[in-house]
Symmetry: C2
Subunit: 503 residues, 2 copies
């Protein structure tokens, strides 16, 4: 089937990984830099991140957290303190060994070797733990509820824009508590914040649960996560919230005098989401015309496209376009003014239209000399076929925008939920499970089956065998469920768990 | 003279550098980490930075800029391209040479040596230039007007919290233009933004001008700056705006087809302010009781201090304190709701009072059982002696807050302006100049003279001699001024320039 000339090539069906690269390029969200694995986030992509930051930051503050900032560099010796953390985590990272450059034969060479190498933070449990150890003396100093917005670096051998990059942007919450109960409650609260944010803002119906031991954050007692299904039916871990027990407190020596005057280690948590959310949104909602942004996080809601074929009507059309933008700014969506971008570039209406389609803006409004004469405007929705237009009187169009945005937002969530449900199966036999995760079409190994809800005996060995056979892992262990029998070993199972291929 | 027990020790007069360390500690703004030169910015300090970011970000967007994000790492070869930049700048920096850690004898050691070392960005002209070279093909692609909020690293041998740290937070604007004229205009526009921000938000009456060749940003054609005087009468360079000519465009190969179809190099600018602004505000406005925050950038405007000596009135007092905060939130200052912090900790009123004095919050409101009975509240201003209280009926107190904040803001600017003017001298002879910059009291070499407006023959040699003799440099060359004679050489001078010791 032929695609319209302006759409994305290849289609999702033809080659999902390549479609992803192409929609990012077409939307001008980000690109690879010449520094291996490090991306350049372009203005439209960064504006999307700023919207996500603003919403999340408000949610963190509403739950009692404040922001702070900790060093980029971690002394090597800090990483050595938490054995499980080092073993499972801190291996692929950027290591600073020198603090000076010297010119030699017209070249710059590293000089000033450091006595102790520094690691560029892959995550900040250890460096923040060192600060908390200084700050916490008594139970009165607890809880500490901080968040940091920062860049982190994890050397990636197979980088992929937004999903897996050497440097990425994220937030990391780090809290310290008097009791295990409070820390567990905090871990769950922040998981709830992420779930709400994913559903209400990103239109992503995520599953929640805990990780199995093998998938857990190294050093954590329990890792809670939100898992999204994207359109190639793989899972993306979109956010995590870790209950760290006293492991990191012991490594960093975060001790306090308790109410009963004994000396105790604090109970800590950490939780984070990253620019990976952008990749998740693109993969979950995009279509063969480009990306589709949920209105609740779109940097702008409406692209106003003045059509100015003739010089003599040009000024009037541009004035009408600006008036339209001003009118929209008086409307509210999610309590904020509706944001319109007036695209005044002197390009054909078709070209401008396609650019905004590819950028995923929720609504487009064309206004040309004929509309001006009739007092109308043509509205197109990003979630409907690109040729569909509704002509409305200007005032009516403006007034309808908030409702249209809400409709698009709800529609995206409904569509993603239906998609997930259509590709989630309760499976009770080993054969069905293996059949489900074996590509139906060997020519298209990148189209996956989806989620399987299947019993599991709780053994890492069972998990390992399935991973080896099928590259399928347990994405999360839901909080609730009925007991049953593990189809792989015949042993008892506490509940069904969610299996899938994943990013 | 004895200081109140709770005030800062030493006083500014006794030991200004140590006073600075102590006010930062007392205000809980930031502290040194165990990583050399890297600071931890604590919540109150970070909230101050967030306020500065929010205001500046709005000003940047209002002048047509958008945000983006570029890699943390710069390949060594990029730095080699702009000779003057390397020579003058990129020497003390963090160098990443390995991308993996390996365990050996229970220790972690760097492994996976990189083919080309990477430098942690000290500033991003070279890496952003590489991106612009990819993006710019035609004059139609110009201008590019981007800003980045980021961390940067410059290895500092004598770090000092906020003023000079190895890692610091900043924004860096980077723009590319079709013509020299447009780039110069952009450089001046952003200098104007900084000057306005310093005056209207930070209450800092900065001087503006250009840098002499020796003080210029390496690789720049012209460096414009804002210079503030702080209370030890030294200058702090608080922001810079660079016209880079075609130097960086040539190094990075940012070329475009011009309107006349010739191939031209773009004209670029860069401009930045950093967390150094926090240090500048503290040194400019603080007193011997602690820091003083200008209301326009204070993270909170009012500390509400419930006094709850007796259990039976405690609930009523706390309810009144919360009602007061809610009432204040309905008032507006600078178009935003007035922000109050209710300090419900069960500590004595004196202790709480002093904590908020030291944190520099503009207003404090005490409310206790007696106030409750009388329907009053006691207001104290941070810019007045700490014992001064005004008792007002609650509704009147609330209604007066915006005017009080405006008064404090204006008062800080007026005081800083008077201070600067009192310590700025027109000097026309070499002897007077040398006398002015020789410490009056050799026991207190850290109390400096101030600014001297003195003619200069334009020669780097003259400047160098004075720097060697007195550690005094040209802080800026004002845009306007009358010609005269250089008192150091007798040669003609185009105008007076501003001389001072500096941070």
């Amino acid at each position: 089937m032929s695609q319209p000339q302006n759409a994305i090539s290849p289609t999702r069906e033809q080659d999902f990984p390549e479609w992803y690269q192409q929609v990012l390029r077409a939307a001008d969200l980000a690109e690879n830099s010449e520094v291996r694995g490090c991306m350049v986030i372009k203005p439209w992509g960064y504006a999307l991140w700023e919207r996500m930051q603003a919403v999340l930051d408000g949610m963190f503050k509403a739950t009692g957290h404040r922001n702070a900032y900790f060093p980029l560099f971690i002394p090597l010796s800090y990483l050595e303190k938490e054995a499980a953390h080092v073993e499972g985590f801190a291996k692929e990272c950027a290591v600073v060994t020198h603090h000076r450059l010297e010119a030699r034969d017209g070249k710059l060479v590293p000089a000033g070797e450091l006595a102790e190498p520094l690691v560029v933070r892959p995550t900040s449990e250890t460096i923040i733990g060192a600060a908390y150890a200084r700050w916490v003396k008594s139970w009165r100093d607890l809880p500490i509820l901080l968040n940091q917005w920062a860049n982190v670096v994890r050397w990636e051998m197979r980088p992929r824009l937004f999903l897996r990059t050497a440097e990425f942007l994220w937030q990391e919450g780090h809290t310290a508590h008097e009791t295990a109960g409070e820390a567990v409650e905090e871990t769950r609260r922040m998981l709830g914040v992420y779930e709400t944010f994913a559903r209400d803002y990103l239109a992503l119906p995520v599953l929640t649960g805990t990780k199995s031991e093998t998938e857990r954050f190294p050093g954590a007692v329990d890792t809670h996560c939100i898992e999204a299904m994207v359109q190639d039916r793989k899972a993306i871990q979109a956010g995590t919230s870790h209950f760290l027990g006293q492991n990191f407190a012991k490594a960093a020596d975060i001790k306090f005098q308790s109410r009963s005057e004994s000396v105790e280690y604090a109970w800590t948590t950490s939780w984070g989401v990253s620019t990976r959310l952008i990749g998740t949104v693109i993969m979950a909602h995009g279509d063969d015309d480009g990306i589709i942004l949920p209105p609740m996080i779109a940097p702008a809601h409406v692209a106003i496209l003045p059509i100015t074929p003739k010089e003599d009507t040009r000024a009037d059309v541009l004035a009408a376009a600006n008036a339209l933008a001003a009118g929209l700014a008086n409307e509210r969506f999610d309590g904020r003014p509706v944001v319109a971008e007036v695209d005044t570039r002197d390009l054909g209406g078709g070209i401008k239209n396609w650019e905004w389609i590819k950028k995923g803006i929720p609504l487009r409004m064309e206004i040309g000399p004929r509309d001006l004469a009739q007092g109308t405007v043509a509205i197109s929705r990003r979630d409907r076929p690109h040729k569909e237009k509704t002509f409305l009187p200007v005032a009516e169009a403006v007034a309808r925008v908030p409702a249209l945005l809400a409709e698009i937002q709800a529609g995206l969530l409904a569509r993603a939920t239906a998609f997930r449900d259509a590709h989630t199966r309760l499976i009770d036999s080993r054969d069905d499970f293996y059949a489900f995760f074996t590509p139906a079409n060997p020519q298209k190994p990148e189209i996956h089956a989806g989620f399987a809800l299947t019993h599991w005996d709780g053994s890492p060995k069972t998990e390992e065998r399935i991973k080896t056979d099928l590259k399928v892992t347990i994405r999360c262990i839901p909080a609730d469920g009925e007991p049953g029998t593990c189809p792989f070993t015949g042993k008892p199972s506490a509940r069904r768990v969610v299996w899938a291929k994943s990013y």
